[in-house]
């Protein structure tokens, strides 16, 4: 075993940062689930809202990406 406690902390922090991706998963699931429940209630309006759903997914996903970015920074930049 080698390395110092700072590196250990960085690796543990990188692992902890990945829990943020769970939040993004909840957000994306919420967006798509609500889209589908809306689409099943009014199928004729569903096609027009697909683009909106993808924009919503992208915005929800962005915050998960920041946790990924934090993990990458801890692994390679700190």
């Amino acid at each position: 075993m080698e390395g110092d406690i700072v590196q250990m902390g960085a690796y543990v922090g990188a692992g902890l940062a990945c829990t943020g991706m769970g939040g993004a998963a909840i957000g994306v699931g919420h967006v798509v689930g609500n889209y589908i429940s809306g689409a099943l209630r009014n199928p004729s309006a569903a096609a027009g809202q697909t683009a909106t759903m993808f924009i919503g997914i992208a915005f929800a996903e962005a915050l998960g990406i920041f946790s990924f970015l934090v993990a990458l920074l801890l692994m390679f930049a700190v």
Binding site: G48, A51, F54, I55, I57, E61, I65, F68
Partner: protein
């Protein structure tokens, strides 16, 4: 442990790191990489440009009334992106359609070429996607100022909110505006990198005889998912460009 190692213990030849596939190396010989060095990234980006040209220029050059296969796909892609620009960014954004079409075709074909075995996924590198995202960011900012002048700042000053809240909202809006190229580029790179790394992790499990059938099934399933993700991420990149363009053209909330 090349050839001389005992054959039974660990499965030789399948020991690799899942991130090895993203190493940038010179195409000819080996040595330091400068900005002009021809690397495998250069090769595969060039190949995706060739693929776009083959599909969109050569494929549709005959302009047949009854389109062939290549022409059908080209027309489908053109119509798809055109409708997206019109729906999301509005009719005023049609002059910028060629830019979004170029981005979309380049990204989607880079993603698909990256799915070929032994190939290199150029879009898995943040350096590649960051150039495209910063290009979009600069273009959108310049268009916003050219079209609206100082009025572009009303994007950050939300007039429908209560007056007391507006400075705080303006700060949040400005931060989210400058974070755009970060999330825009890392979304694409992260999705491509993660998917390919997962496939390689399952590929490493294939060396263990006990779970290799499961691993092959998992690789197949992940590969199918990756085809979907490749397309969706290119679509998301293009659609977000449209959203940013709409903000630049109509900054008033």
């Amino acid at each position: 442990m090349a050839g001389t190692a005992q054959p039974s213990e660990k499965s030789d030849g399948l020991v690799f790191h899942p991130m090895d596939q993203f190493i940038v190396e010179p195409l000819f010989g080996s040595g330091p990489i400068y900005w002009y060095t021809v690397t495998n990234v250069t090769l595969w980006m060039g190949l995706s440009v060739v693929a776009v040209v083959l599909l969109m220029l050569v494929g549709t050059s005959k302009r047949a009334l009854v389109p062939g296969r290549a022409q059908s796909v080209g027309e489908l892609a053109y119509g798809f992106v055109h409708k997206m620009v019109e729906d999301v960014a509005g009719r005023d954004a049609i002059p910028y359609f060629p830019y979004i079409m170029t981005l979309f075709m380049f990204i989607v074909l880079s993603n698909f070429l990256g799915l070929l075995p032994m190939s290199f996924t150029t879009t898995s590198h943040i350096a590649v996607t960051a150039v495209m995202a910063i290009g979009v960011f600069l273009a959108v900012t310049v268009i916003g100022f050219v079209k609206n002048g100082v009025g572009f700042f009303s994007l950050f000053w939300i007039s429908s909110a209560p007056l007391a809240l507006r400075p705080a909202l303006a700060l949040i809006e400005i931060i989210s505006y400058f974070v755009r190229p970060v999330s825009h580029s890392i979304r694409l790179a992260g999705n491509m990198m993660a998917g390919h790394a997962v496939i390689k992790v399952f590929a490493a499990f294939a060396g263990v005889a006990l779970i290799s059938p499961l691993s092959v099934v998992a690789i197949t399933a992940m590969y199918a998912l990756e085809i979907l993700v490749s397309f969706i991420q290119a679509y998301v990149f293009a659609i977000l460009t449209c959203v940013y363009l709409k903000d630049a053209l109509h900054p008033h909330h």
